[in-house]
Symmetry: C14
């Protein structure tokens, strides 16, 4: 096989693996945060506003980690800066 | 084997692996969130509305992670941008 | 072996693996949710309606994850879009 | 060895592996659900009816996951749609 | 070695592995269920009837999973439908 | 080496492995059940009869799983149905 | 090396491995049962007779599992039924 | 393949792997911190200000770790100082 | 190397491995039993006799498992019944 | 490939791996420390000053560990003292 | 290399491995027993004599397991009965 | 490749690995110590001085372990005593 | 390479590995024993003498295990009895 | 490569690995001991002297284990007794 084939195979396989692995722990972290928020709600229903705000800020920061992965995956799939050295 | 065969094999196998791995942790996270919601319901039945809302927003955000995986899998199966370098 | 043989072997083996792995964690998540629902029932028998509703919505969302896997498996077994590149 | 031999070996081995792995986690999940149901019975004997109903619906949904695996295994052993590409 | 030898080796080894692995988790699940039933008996001796009924139904459903494995193992050892493609 | 040698090696090694692995989890499950029975006895000495009956039925069902493994091992060692294809 | 050498090596190595692995979990299970019996004794000294009886029956059943392994190991070392196919 | 191809493949694959692995534990750590903050809010609603400040400083320090990884990944993808030795 | 060398190497290595592995779990099990006995002594000093008797019987049964391993190891090192097939 | 290529590949890959692995446990340790600080704040709001001081000193010492890794990574990427032996 | 070299290498390496592995679990078991003895002392200082006696008997039995390993290691290093087959 | 290349590659890779692995457990240990110090502060604010002194001595001793690793890594990178045998 | 080289390499590498692995579990066991001793001191300050004596005897017995490893390592490095077979 | 190169590579790599692995568990053990000492201080501030003395003796004994590793590593790097067999 020529070099473009290797590059294509590795990029495709790597992208699939990275996105599959990369959502693992954000998912777990979100699950825990939501779990605790529900627990907090059950204990202090009147603090619902503060709980919701903290929860959503936290979910957003965790989501940002998953999006870092998604961004690197899309860079690799659609616009890889190292590709020019191969096409030279 | 020629290069298209390798590409097809890797894409098919990778897609199967990615979707199988990618639903693992969202499933776990959902399970935990639902578990805690049921626990919260049992402790504070009158806060059912706030609990349900928080639960469903959380499930939606976790579902979004599983859908990122599904999207990358479908891109790889149906419309892979790196395919043009192979067909050239 | 020719390329169709490789493709057939990998698809068959991958489908078996994916379905076997893919039901693992939905099963665990369901088990936890049901477990907690039973616990909640034992603590608050009068909240049975809310508990049942939350449980069944949650089971449906987890089931949806297992069905994503089943769908990809069936696409690979019965109608793989990458097959046309092999038959060309 | 010819290609049919590979196909037969892989299908047989894969079927054995898939069924052995595929019952693992449904078994665990059932074990947990039954465990909790017994615990709930011991705490709230008068809620036996609701507990039994929830338990059996839950066991049925988990059983459905094991049956997905069994179905894919039987499709692979008895009527594999990819077989026609090999016999061509 | 010829192809029948490979087939025989793989079937024998696979059958041993599958049955050994396949009883692992049903055994664990049964252990847990029985454990909990004994615990429930110790806490609510007067609910012995309901506990026994739930326990035995549950054990039967878990046993069914182990029997799925046994059935596939025996099909592979004694009457494998894929064998005809090899003997052709 | 000829094919009978491979067959003999694999059968012997597989039988040793299967029996060694196959008693692992029944042993654990029995350990747990006995453990709990002793705990139950310490808490409710007067329910000794019900506890003993449940324990022994449970131990018998777990023992049955270990015996499935033993049966398959003995079939492989003494009377393997696939042997005729090798001797042909 | 000739085939008897392979057979001897595998049987010796397998026997050592099987006995070393095969006592693992019976040892653990016994440890747990004894542990719990001591705990039960400390809590209900007057139930010593019932506790001892249950403990010793349980230890005997677990010991039986270790003896299954020992039996298969001795069959393999001293009188392997598959040996006749090799000597033919 | 020539050396630039190896370099490209390794850099692309390594970048995907590093970003996927590198967000794992920051995600977990964030999840724990947010979880505890919600718990603290539920116990001491009036200390919301101190809790929020500590939480956000902590999240920022953890985020800094994820950004170290992102920086190294981007250096490798876009401006690798070792590249000059290859191009010489 | 000739066959006696292989046999010697494997027997020596296997004996070292088997004894090292084979004392693992009896050691753990003994540790637990002694631990619990000390705990029981601290809670019920007056039941010291029953505790000691149960402990020592239990230690003896666990020790028997370690001795099974030692016996097989010594058989392999000093008097292996399969050796005659090699010397023939 | 020549030796500079090997050196470049290993340095790049190693740097990615080291930074990805090296932030794992500082992240976890920070997460735990922050978690506990939040818990302490919730229990003793009036000790906020001592808690904050201890927390920030601790975070700095953990951060120093992550920076050791970053320093070694940057030395390897930008100014490796062993490079002169290669260029000779 | 000749056969004595292999034998020497394997014996030396195996002895190092066996002793390193063989002290693992006795160490753990001793640690636990001592730990519990200290706990028991703190709870029942007046039972110090019984506790010490049980502890030292237990430590001696665990030490015996480590010494089994040491004995086999020294037999292998200094006086291996299988050596005569090699020197013949 | 010549021997200096191997030496350079191994030293560079080993240094990266050692520093990445070597900070793992000091980081964890520090995290635990700080965590507990915060907990102690929350329970006994008036013992702050003794707690701080113990904590900082402990952190210093743990830091010393990480520095042992750093020292060996720097010896390997900058002044390896075994290098003279290679240059001879 | 000649046989003395292999022997030197294996002995050096094995000694490093054995000492690194061999201190693992004694370290853990000591950590636990010291931990518990501190806990016991906090609960029963007046039993300090008995606690110290038990702790130091226990530490000495665990240290003896680490010293077994050190002794075997030094025998291998400085005076290996199997060396004479190599030099012959 | 000649034999001195192998020796140098293995010694360097082994030294890095041994020191990195060898500080793992002393670090953990120290972390636990310090953790518990802080806990003890918080519960019994007046027993500070006994706690400190026990803690520092314990830390010294654990540190001795790490120093065993460091000593073997330095012997291997600077003055390996097996080196003379290589230089002969």
């Amino acid at each position: 096989m020529d070099k473009m084939t290797w590059f294509t195979l590795l990029s495709t396989g790597g992208a699939l693996a990275a996105i599959a692995v990369g959502v693992i722990f954000p998912a777990i972290a979100m699950g825990r945060a939501i779990t605790q928020a529900l627990d907090a709600l059950a204990r202090q229903p009147e603090a619902e506003k503060a709980i919701s705000r903290t929860l959503f800020i936290g979910l957003a920061m965790i989501e940002s980690l998953a999006i870092y992965v998604l961004v690197i995956v899309l860079i690799v799939l659609f616009r890889n800066p190292l590709l020019e050295y191969l096409l030279k």
